[in-house]
């Protein structure tokens, strides 16, 4: 199909979509309306399970099976990326030259590293009380690790970041989620049911299995993102095609 034909097809489709969508919008309850039957039930259920953060409760308790599905998509996406970006037979690794980093940037990145790490862990750990949780905190923690790449270069990051360990962590996080669910079965309840003592409302130990599932997701997301970025960094910085010749001399080098 030509680019022109495709654009026309899009315009016709977009016009039809816009018409239907706008009609639907005017039939929806107006923005900010007070009637939220599901929301109210979710809030009641979360409070009865002593979980202060209702969103964490929906994710890891009321709809825990759904989150298992989401987590599996994440796992599969990471796995797919690892397979796609593996080093093939006709590729070779080159050692990039050390990067030139301004001292100011280096010190800043090194000083921020522990802060960012702590903030990430804080966001994971407080998931059942305040805004946050395994998904968000996991990404922050994984990003924090890459401040080391900004402070020095990829080789420095490689030295302190054993990728196989994070690959195991990714799988272990997924497995821990399923095992927690099966534990509920052993305890004589349904898969992923909240069987642990619920604890005191709005404390770190409240929410029963929410804490465990939250931690499992935190581990999986942290490891998953680290592995993803490791594969991309490998490809962009180290791995080159065997025919590239002296191309690396310039391009493997890092700047700033």
């Amino acid at each position: 199909m030509t680019a022109r034909g495709r654009l026309w097809l899009f315009l016709v489709g977009a016009a039809a979509f816009a018409m239907v969508f706008v009609t639907a919008c005017f039939s929806l309850p107006p923005f900010g309306s007070v009637h939220h039957p599901y929301g109210e039930r979710a809030v009641r259920a979360a409070l009865s399970h002593h979980t202060a953060n209702v969103i964490a409760s929906v994710n890891f308790d009321l709809r825990a099976l759904d989150t298992l599905g989401e987590e599996t998509i994440l796992f599969a996406a990471v796995l797919g990326t690892v397979v796609l970006l593996r080093q093939t037979a006709d590729e070779q690794r080159t050692r990039p030259e050390p990067a030139v980093v301004r001292p100011r940037v280096r010190w800043f990145a090194l000083a921020m590293l522990p802060f960012a790490m702590l903030i990430g862990l804080y966001v994971i750990a407080h998931g059942q009380i305040s805004p946050g949780g395994g998904f968000q905190g996991g990404v922050v923690t994984a990003t924090a690790l890459h401040l080391l790449y900004l402070a020095a270069d990829y080789r420095a990051l490689e030295r302190v970041r054993p990728v196989p360990l994070y690959e195991i962590g990714d799988a272990a996080g997924e497995a821990a989620y399923v095992v927690t669910g099966l534990g509920a079965l052993l305890a004589g309840s349904a898969f992923l049911a909240n069987v642990l003592p619920l604890g005191t409302f709005a404390t770190l130990s409240s929410g029963g299995t929410v804490i465990l599932l939250n931690a499992a997701v935190g581990i999986e997301v942290t490891s998953g993102i680290v592995v993803l970025l490791a594969r991309f960094l490998d490809q962009a910085v180290e791995i080159g095609h065997a025919d590239d010749g002296n191309d690396h001399g310039n391009d493997g080098k890092e700047r700033v």
């Binding site: 990067a99 030139v100 301004r102 100011r104 940037v105 800043f108 990145a109 921020m112 802060f115 960012a116 903030i119 966001v123 305040s130 805004p131 946050g132 968000q136 922050v140 990003t143 924090a144 890459h146 401040l147 900004l150 310039n250 391009d251 890092e254 700047r255 700033v256």
Partner: protein, 151 residues
């Protein structure tokens, strides 16, 4: 939870300032785009802090906390790939004037305690991030190949 319109009006100021910043991010010269991206995360933090107070929810401050760490990180990532870290007086001035102007009244409103410590930490992180990413020092080494082409 009654929203406090005064604080929300304060949050509106950095929010409106983001409109010209968006223009620069999408239409400016290459270095201006990076400066605008840097400025946007600073202004975002400055909008989030009074908004948290205005909504009467100190827990919302966590969003600003995460932004104060990841914002400069994002800017440094771009700087490394583009091969430039342009200095910007605008970013430094906005940080040095704007952050105390918003954080100190918020501290007074919060009163001594954990909330205040958190606000001061966020303020310090915002200033540190902006000073480091906005101080310039000219071009590092002008990127030779891919970085230079994209910049």
């Amino acid at each position: 939870m009654r929203a406090d319109d005064g604080w929300l009006a304060v949050a509106l100021v950095p929010l409106l300032a983001l409109v010209p910043v968006l223009w620069r991010v999408s239409r400016g010269a290459p270095e201006d785009r990076l400066i605008a991206q840097n400025l946007s995360s600073l202004l975002g933090g400055l909008a989030l802090l009074p908004a948290a107070q205005g909504f009467g929810r100190p827990a919302y401050v966590d969003v600003a906390l995460v932004l104060s760490v990841l914002g400069p990180t994002g800017t440094l990532i771009y700087a490394r790939f583009l091969g430039v870290l342009p200095g910007s007086r605008l970013v430094r001035r906005t940080a040095l004037l704007g952050v105390p102007a918003i954080v100190l009244p918020l501290c007074v409103a919060a009163g001594p305690g954990r909330a205040m410590a958190k606000l001061l930490l966020i303020g310090a992180l915002l200033i540190a991030g902006s000073v480091v990413t906005g101080a310039g020092g000219g071009r590092g080494r002008k990127a030779a190949a891919d970085g230079g082409r994209t910049a």
